[in-house]
Every structure is written in structure tokens, then in C-alpha cells.
Symmetry: C2
Subunit: 235 residues, 2 copies
Amino acid sequence: MPNERRRKIAQNSLLLKSFSQEVQDMVLSMSSWREYDRGETLFLQGETAQAIHIVTEGWVKLYRIAPNGGEAVVNVFARGESFGEAVAFRGHTYPVSAEAVTACEVMRIPSVALLEAMRKDPEIAVSVLASTFAHLHSLVSQLEQLKAQTGPQRVAEFLLELCEHEEGSCVVTLPYDKFLIAGRLGMKPESLSRSFAKLKTVGVHIKRNHAAIDDIERLRDFSETDPVEAWHKAQ
Amino acid sequence: MPNERRRKIAQNSLLLKSFSQEVQDMVLSMSSWREYDRGETLFLQGETAQAIHIVTEGWVKLYRIAPNGGEAVVNVFARGESFGEAVAFRGHTYPVSAEAVTACEVMRIPSVALLEAMRKDPEIAVSVLASTFAHLHSLVSQLEQLKAQTGPQRVAEFLLELCEHEEGSCVVTLPYDKFLIAGRLGMKPESLSRSFAKLKTVGVHIKRNHAAIDDIERLRDFSETDPVEAWHKAQ
DNA sequence: AGGCTTAAATGACTATAGTCAAGTTGTGGG
DNA sequence: CCCACAACTTGACTATAGTCATTTAAGCCT
């Protein structure tokens, strides 16, 4: 795996891209890479965090095992995304576990490296905060979705996030398998299946791991209308 | 309202308490206080953030209005707690709205004050991250609860968080009205009522705004068992 | 191609939470 | 002291999602 390519991806990640060249080099020189097979565990909840992770290839899911054994997928990260910033700084324990969803490649930045960088340049801290904020924001919107939207609406929103455009029709590729998508959206695979079926009535057709959306606006409209109304529309 | 008391509460907040005396003074000197009546709005989602808030008296809720009009309560903050750190730094817009739940008193720290403090002492950044992390953690555990626990179990967990002790019996005071608790737990007031009724079978009795818990361990046991089992136990 | 393995869709049934409406309790005001 | 208003509880019904079992379809390997 060409080292140069990895560097590029890491440098373009949300976390590092606003750093100066000099600081980027310093951080990268202190970091290491590791490859994981599908299903391998990166870390478990309760372990002490010593590094920040940036995904340079593949997909990583963060999940949480409740005391009763239920699994809740908290998020799924793709190439260029980072996680674990806030935890690593405090030498805290992870509130979630991480597992490779596909074969993947992850860069580990020791927290001391970033702490050092922050001492050199306080602006770095702002970048780190920004990245942490992005996660916070994503969690807030997940909460909103779970509390205020029905299953099919959450699926609709998920598809809309994958769209490149704001209107017209398009075909998106489902980024990971349906079992995982279901987890990410807080539902069972069967319910996901049924949600897809309902979305047919608003012009969404699933074929393999592709979703064809006839009219993006129509789908958005569906995801944003009142649950009760939405139900009638989907009849 | 004695200024000295406010200072003390602010200084003991999670956000500021690890700062040096000098930095605390600097930050406080740049801050302002405001009182809000019950129901008043502190800010709306979409507004640009320019300050971090610390609650010095009363309760403030953060909520989000979904495009379809549904309200999702994201969190409720009490005396000594802070919110809006990560957003304010980026001059970003708030992802949530904030409203006074009771009459309350809030300290506003202009983000420039903290940015300045961070330049002086990079350790400050770590404190801010820690505080942001606490919010992140709380959101993660809310997500887990919503995805993996039933209504009565979430209520049980909520009560357990209010307990001072780990075992035995105790009486806790419900911190805000039931309408709001229901929102915070992602359910309707009616469902909350029914959850309370179910919890009677595991030794919880509600009277006014007090909850008497006969046996904390028993309640924890209930909140942690499998939803299916839990249902049988509550019969 | 054919059979093997796993993912996904469907059907039947159950449970949990939402909705709407009616009743209950509790509190503050006159 | 009683009324009025609001918060809360309860009941009946509906809808949405979970469970379990079965069918269908899709990759995959030699």
C-alpha cells in the first residue's frame, strides 16, 4: 500500500486538513498505520484511549453493547473521517467499541502527538474541537431522527445524505450491508426491508446495493412531512 | 442575586474548575449574566453562536425541531453545567434551540474570551475538550438507550441517575415536570405515566414529583435485563 | 452449470408506544 | 371553602416496529 496515498488521505481528513504543513508533518511522523480484516476489533468500550483514529480505507463502525446485551450502532466512519478525539485527550476510557466493517486501514495518532501540536499552535485545538463538534452534531441529528421520525422516514433521510445533488433523480450506492444500515438507523433488518418497500411509492427502487431515486425532492418531501401524513402518502 | 455566589457556581462548573485562578478571573471578567423567565428562549437553532453558556441557576433544555415539526429534547442542563462549547468556537450555527425550563440564570462567556485563554494556556483547550466530550458521551448513552431499551427501562435508568447511592432504598425528586422528562426520554407523557405504573412492580412509587425506590439494585436489575425478560418481570 | 452458503424479502403474529378522549387529582385564586 | 385550570392518569384503539419462521434471491466455489 503506497505510503504516499495514505498520507494524502490523512492530510485531507476533516481533522488534519486545516493544520499547517509543518504541524501535519510532525503529527504524521508520530503516527502509525494498521490494517484490519473485516470483523476485527479496533478497541472495546472501557479500554483506555491513547490514540485518535483516522480511517484511510474501508469502513469502521462504532457501537455500544448495552448492559442487557443489545447492540446499538452509534456511527459508521468512512475514508477520511476521524474519531476518538475527545476521549484520547483525557486518557479516558472509550464509551464505545470499534470494529472493522470491511477490510480497512486505519491511522493511529498518539494523543501525545496532538497534545504537543496543540501546545505549539493553539489554533490546532480549535480544529480538533471542530472535528469533535461534527460528531456531536451528527449525534444530535441522529437523536432527532430517532425521536421524531418513523422508520421509512429515517431511511429516506439516510438515502438523501448519500445523494450528491439537491434535486432531480439519481442512483446511490449503499455504503455497507443492510444489516449494518439497519443498526445505524436503529431498526432491525426486516424493518429496513419493509421501509424500502414503502419507499417504492415515493419513487425509490432498490436493486442489489444500489438505490435509484426518481425524484430527490419528492423523497425529501416524504422525509419531512408529518409521520401521520407520510403514512397516507405511502399507501 | 449576590454576584459572589454566581462566581462560585461558575468556577465550580465542569468547564472552568480545572482552569488556573488567573485564567478563571480573566474569563469571568469578560462574561455577562442574564436571567430568563420560564419559557423564554436563549437561542434558536440556526442562529450563529458567539458564546458558551453556563447555567448558574434553574434548568435549561436543548431541543430540536425536526422539519416535520416534531420536537426532540436533546438534553436538559442544571446548575453548574455548560453547553455550546464546540459550536461557539467555530462561529458555527447552533444545531439545537435552548429554552428556560424554569426561571433561571445563565452566564455567557463570549467565545473570544475562551479563545484568548486557550492561546495563553493550551491546557485550557484540553479542559474544553473534556467538557465537550462529556456531552458527546451523554449523547452516545442516550442513543444506546433509545435503540436498545424499552420505555420503562429508560425511565428506570433515568431514576437511577438521580440516585445518590448505589444500593438500598431512596427517594429522589423529579427534577422537572413530566412533560419534559417524557421528551428527554423520547416518549409521550402518556407513555411515561404508563412506564411509572409498570415500575410499581419493581418497587418504585411515584408521589407528586417524588419517586420512592424500594431497592435500587432491583431497579438496576430491571433496567439491565433483556427487554423480553423485563416484560415478564413486570407482569 | 449445479449445488452450497449467506443475505435479503415476505408473511403471520405480538408487543410496544402513539393518539384521542375522558376522567382524576392538585393547586392557587377569589 | 369551593371553583377553575392545569398537570397528570387511565382507557380504548391504532399503528409501528420487533420476533420467528419460511421463502426467495444472490454470490461463490469447484
